[in-house]
Symmetry: C2
Subunit: 572 residues, 2 copies
């Protein structure tokens, strides 16, 4: 039963559900639904898909996540970065605006769902750790810039194409003379209005004496207001006839049952992008879920999250959606609005289904410029270059990784950017181990503690040289230790009779390093110097135990550096 419960977290909260929780969940659902209607339409447009796809992608996935997910506040659906990745992935394979483009989006969601589910069942959630925080932060910032740039064409009412900032920028400049006045007016006003709603409205309302909850609710409803106002304006002034692009006919129906395109060629082409979308979506979603869970002392099980998101994406694939994940903004809204359980998500799904059934005829005249404005203002919150300053101050290699991620994402596109970020951060981490920090140590007076002679006031003995090796010894750095030790000895060849390698930071000695130590032992023995080890850890000692090296070692293995000092340090 417990095992069963692990895979169905709904059993955990479902049986304690009461009227109080119901009331709170319903309130949250209304607020989130109002927020999601314009956002879902907008993100579908960003992904290059018909607007209704965004609504469909918010219904079944929310319900499935409520059954399988572990977060009580996470709101699953289309999000900006995954929509951009979807557009980039499918755009390389299929012509945008065609029926096969929509079918490919289903395939991408199905692949992504299968990958997430597979990783979850295999309990491989830890793989997401490969995206270092700065790389993710840099990637999301650069994606935000790219997304905002990609929406400018809708605000200006022109055609523009491009996967990178440079391509997009050049294309926009080239088409700037065609800018459509009425569209720019609507789009520009919507951007200004939404930006004001986001930054200035809430403080203003509070200052006017409105209760914070109501002020918050009005702020959340800002995008809906912009949608209603610009739609009414477009209808009233018949702006469609004057060339303002509108959403147009949207089918008035519940999410349809759909089958993804299973052609092997398409699957091959979309597999790598699907992996990328899965991992980035997962990392983003889990970090949101963890942040919110920590506030209520709840726990997030990363492997179960993979299963929840996998189910959500499979749901999207079979109900006319496209890849989804847990979004930051909507989850925070859901949480702040007081959502107690995943049932809030189910009510949101219900609200969106009602909207799909009843409201779709009304959005015929909704200008695309308004949706673009919604996206632009929403993604501005993703853009945060402060990670550059923070890493610059803390660590050069983190800074290089984040800078490369940002520059490559902007110049070559999202896939190259994130691949470079991941590759580079692993490479930089490995590079640091090539020339390890090796400190000559002495005793902190009056203690049994040994520290770097150059940083602390310590006692040393001329006949005893102790080196603390601050890295695992393996093929890439074993020779470095040998060279360094021999160089150090040549400075002081006469005095030193005992060398102790203090291994407190040596977490592994591989076969190559073992051979190097054997050679070093023989070499030192020839020079009349004995080689000792101290503070060798259990796992390393287990491996050394049956080797020639330990049998041939001219010196001893001391449990602690203090034992070595007691035995050897006095003799000088």
């Amino acid at each position: 039963m417990d095992h069963f419960k692990r895979y169905f977290p709904i059993l955990d909260w479902g049986r304690d559900y009461d009227r109080l929780a119901l009331g709170e969940d319903l309130t949250a659902a209304v607020i989130v639904t109002l927020m999601l209607i314009p956002q879902s339409l907008a993100y579908a447009m960003l992904a290059g898909l018909p607007p209704e796809t965004g609504l469909y992608a918010s219904i079944a996935p929310i319900l499935l996540y409520a059954v399988f997910g572990t977060s009580r506040a996470l709101a699953v659906g289309p999000v900006a970065v995954v929509s951009l990745l979807t557009a980039s992935a499918i755009g390389q394979v299929v012509e945008p605006g065609t029926a096969s483009y929509v079918a490919a989006a289903l395939t991408l969601a199905a692949l992504s769902g299968a990958i997430l589910l597979g990783l979850g069942l295999l309990r491989l959630g830890f793989l997401a750790n490969f995206l270092s925080h700065p790389v993710i932060a840099g990637f999301i910032t650069a994606s935000g810039v790219l997304i905002a740039a990609s929406q400018l064409k809708h605000v200006m009412g022109v055609e523009a194409e491009g996967h990178s900032l440079i391509e997009l920028g050049l294309s926009l400049v080239q088409h700037a003379p065609d800018t459509h006045g009425p569209t720019l007016l609507i789009g520009g006003a919507a951007v200004a209005f939404l930006y004001f709603v986001r930054t200035g409205l809430n403080p203003l309302l509070t200052r006017l004496g409105l209760p914070p909850r109501l002020a918050g609710f009005i702020t959340k409803a800002g995008p809906v207001f912009a949608v209603i106002a610009t739609t009414a304006l477009t209808w009233g002034l018949d702006l469609e006839a004057r060339g303002v692009a509108v959403v147009g006919v949207v089918p008035q129906t519940l999410p349809p049952l759909t089958a993804p395109d299973w052609s092997p060629e398409l699957i091959r082409a979309l597999f790598i992008p699907a992996v990328l979308i899965s991992i980035i979506g997962f990392v983003e979603s889990v970090s949101v879920a963890k942040t919110l869970a920590a506030k209520k002392r709840q726990r997030i099980d990363a492997d179960q999250e993979l299963i929840g998101l996998g189910a959500a994406n499979l749901g999207a694939a079979f109900t006319g959606g496209y890849p989804v994940t847990g979004g930051f903004a909507r989850s925070v809204v859901n949480f702040d609005a007081g959502a107690r359980t995943p049932a809030a998500g189910a009510f949101t799904a219900l609200g969106l289904a009602l909207a799909a059934l009843t409201l779709t005829p009304l959005i015929y005249f909704l200008p695309k410029a308004t949706l673009a404005a919604t996206i632009i203002v929403a993604v501005l919150s993703l853009v945060d270059f402060s990670i550059l300053r923070a890493t610059w101050r803390y660590s050069t290699s983190d800074f290089i990784a984040v800078l490369a991620t940002i520059l490559l994402t902007l110049s070559l596109g999202v896939e190259a950017g994130v691949a470079a970020g991941v590759g580079l951060s692993i490479l930089l981490h490995v590079t640091k181990t090539f020339k390890p920090h090796i400190a000559e140590v002495g005793r902190v007076p009056g203690t049994e503690h040994f520290r770097n002679i150059h940083r602390h006031q310590v006692e040393t003995t001329p006949s005893l040289l102790t080196l603390r090796i601050d890295e695992s010894l393996y093929f890439a750095n074993a020779n470095f230790l040998e060279d360094m030790l021999l160089k150090r000895l040549s400075q002081d060849a006469e005095a030193v009779r005992n060398v102790v390698l203090m291994c407190s930071a040596v977490n592994e000695i591989d076969y190559s390093a073992l051979e190097t130590l054997e050679a070093l032992n023989a070499r030192l023995e020839d020079m009349g110097v004995r080689l000792h080890l101290s503070e060798v850890k259990g796992p390393v000692m287990d491996k050394l135990e049956h080797t020639h090296f330990l049998r041939d070692l001219s010196g001893e293995v001391f449990l602690s550096q203090h034992d070595a000092w007691a035995a050897l340090g006095r003799s000088g």
Copy 2:
């Protein structure tokens, strides 16, 4: 002057050269020359080149290495593994047996020389550390098997092709019905004779009472005897007319001045193989040089070796040779024969030049089967599968790397094999850091030393939990620490009031790990548990110093774990 001397090691030994050294060097040169004549011809054949190329590749390179190299005993010239790599590299681009094949070999030598020289001038010799010892051992063993297999066709007198053991084996089986009887007789006899010379002759002669030096000399001359005997036999019985393949016409001249083919297309195709040849040749050569130098307390400067080998390869490129490096067998013979200085190499070059001028007409009737037999017996000494057993006993990941290298070299060829070996060994090393060893530690009674509670009899206090993290903390493993610590605390949530992270083995904390530690600190604070650090190393502390983390830390940073114990351990 000293700087000048660094690049011309000849200035080091040249000025002290005397008659005694001259005598010893001359003796060594005669022995090595006798050994090199058949070997040079044979390795050229292995590389798919005309036999004289092998002689030419032994003359200028030896002289240039004598000027620029640091080893006093290293004998530079064609070697088995590099010849195989040459055949594999050029065979993919040019039709074997053509003039452009010979020109491509010059290009390969020139590229290889330029790469080695460049690495040496940039002092990048440490890059060779990337080949772990087991990977090299596995690669050389597999190459030995491949080389021996590739020569069987000459011994059987049939045609056979293939880059992998399977292809070669299938091709040989397919052509086995065409086996040429007289060729097989000569080849088989030569293999048997040479094998006896290598393994049984020296002990036999010693037992017969010959002085060891003379016995050694006769043994070294074995291949020359096989060459003379089979050549005479072929000439006497006119076996060429009966279909025994012979070396044929070899130009009677000093090494010609040649210009490599500089076509950009060829350079592009050969660049990666040239990198591979350079690095493998360098690693092999340096390990031989180091072994021999250690016996005489001489030092090898890896960067200067790169320059020496680079010059040797450039020399080969302009005098009709092909890629060369320091060979194990010939260097050991040179050393054992008493070579004192690189002048021994110069005399060897002189001997080979004389051979090229005078002896070449005599080898018209030398059967190719004899050369193949020379190669087969020579490479048998490279084949040593004991590395599999040694790594199996010591370390699983080393074993996997060596096994993969051997299997992939045999099944896919030399380039795939060594690339897989290098990639895999780095990957396996990194993988180990994902789930670091984390030990709960307590105090070894009566000392200030702290060890794993599961391995040692130690003292602990219920209110104090100390974890020693045996790995640098970075993005790939920071979450693992967090999960593990929280799980451990949930077992014992009431008692623990203080958590100490003992950082003696933490060589780095990257930005992602720093953020994780910050979150962990806040989380523990909420639980009423204080977080402390101990034994943080200098370089890590330098980076932490100005961070929020250290300001927000609920506990303290202790210089030693003993200080932490003294402050916190008693309170429980």
